[in-house]
Amino acid sequence: MKQFFKKKESTILCVLICIIIIITLNNSTFLRPDNIIDMIKGNTVLGIMSMGMLVVIITGGIDVSVGAMIAAITVIVGKFMVNFTGNVLLAFLLASLSGILFGLINGLLIAKLKIPPIVTTLGTMSIINGAMLYYTNGTWINDIPESFINFGKITLFKVPDGQGGTIGIPIQILFFIGAALITWIILKYSIIGRGIYAIGGNPVSAERIGYSLDKINLFLYSYVGFMAGIAAVVHTSIMRQVDPNAFTGFELQVVAAVVVGGANILGGAGTVFGTLIGVFLMAAMNNGLILMHIPVFWQKIVLGIVILVAVSIDVLQRKRTLRKLAKVDID
């Protein structure tokens, strides 16, 4: 398995490395620690959410309500903090709980009513978003308590920033790492994680060997909701304000990062490592295009072409190895 998945991600990893080289040759600032840290910090929310999306995509599902969930949770937590307390722990607790609740609703609809995930989540996306905007009318929440804002400013061990000074690792990145780690452990070392792959590969057989599709679906979508909760708090800790409209169109970015990272949208395949590459690829492209001074009107063209080339090379590569593979050992 190790070999196989490595192979699957190697192309996209090569593309990422090529892009990094090209950008760095144009502007060496790219690889400067402070830029890397800023880039990762700016993409933690995408990264955390991708981990949630990854697990559903492996089962062949999808959750397009992630943007709506994060937005709604930022509002819930924001209101809570403004009205009650800026306690960070409580914020995380509330966010996770509300995320899990949203996820459970998705999971229940999918498991019990057998409505395809994309339809269910399209529906809940529209409901959650509509209800949340009706409630807030889009008004920003500005008065996030100082204690929470200070939490967002925490940095850990200083590293040189490449310009003679030092820069700390923002606390948000820890959550990204944590999300990746937990997801990796679940996928790799838990029975349910293997069940996620098994369902993606052959749902009928998965039931036959004793997995309960319903239970796994409930778990999965709650997990996505949980990740949305964490992402929401992390986002608020970075932005220090809550904009209920901040996540429109976010679901596509998340899906993009995950599938570019080699997860099979039909289910059965996908890894944390690949998804990380996908997230970094997207992040590096966005960051690098400005660093390379590419005019803004060309940026989308370049991004589009890079995606197309990356995924095509990947497929062609795999096809070629498949064709070369000897099926019969001839004397």
Binding site: V64, P116, V119, W298, K300, I301
Partner: protein, 347 residues
Amino acid sequence: MRRFSKEWMLVGVFIFLFALMSILSPDKFLSLNNLQSMAFQLPEFGLLSLAMMVVIVTGGINLSLTSTAALSGIMGAFALSIMNSAGFDVGLTIAVAIVVSVLTSLLCGLINGSIISYIGVSPILVTLGTMTLFEGISLNFTKGGAISGFPEQYYWFGNGTILQIPVPMIIFIVFIVLTYIMLEHTPWGLCVYMSGCNPLATMYSGINVKKVLLKVYLFSALLTSVSSVIMTSRYNSAKVDYGSSYLLQSITAVVLGGTNIAGGYGKVMGTVTATLILQVLSSGLNLLGVKRYIVDVIMGAILILILAINFINSNIKFKTKNKSHNSDSNSNLIVSLLETLKIAKKG
């Protein structure tokens, strides 16, 4: 029989909602004015939904749908405004513009289709890339602005009426019929459904599945370009983000219409009815003065509700032991239902 019921149930929902809206605001909803304006609004979205549907039937998805429409509209708009200001004959100008629109869209379809079928990249990845690419090209051409300055006569496609029937509606109906015939009455259509279910077996049967797939993307692009002509005419201009909110909406309409998101099943009638439902809801609720957000909530709820009814519907069918031929998942479903029934009986 079961297969038909899904679509007919949608028709029922449509009639119900139509009646409901008529009762709630009889003078306004049933006015010629409102009926006409709904008929003006529906076609551009309906055509995009059909374009999305043909792709979903093959098991794919087209995320570049709206950016294709925008690019095609922008190219057509350039032709219109350039030739118009250069003083060409109006008829010729419009003809050239439409041809340019259609060709641009077909080119986009060709790019999508050939990468998907001949290189074999999964549709969601390809169209994710082309979505960004086409949007980038549009931006590069327009610098974000709107292209306008069309001849008066172009206005007709999106805003004219014939015998009180809006022109776009007539165009829409023509393309509904065309799509219906293409999908359900031609060998190509049969191949589309067959390869949507099992491309390997279809290929083994001597069908050039790649060509079939390519044609699907071209046909989808054709529908997109028609929609884009209507849009540019209705908005009297073209711009990179026109209709961008139609992307997820069209997927919603397609799945609401009963199309299997995994491919292999989907009817024109279902999709069209679904777009009608969405239209009646959105116009009706607007007339009632319901807040926009609540409209979103209701739309989402209706989507889930209808599919839930579908589910329950098929269960009732099972109870009455109608003869039916279920797909694999359905038979599993029935098995699990049997179990629940049994538990219920025991308990």
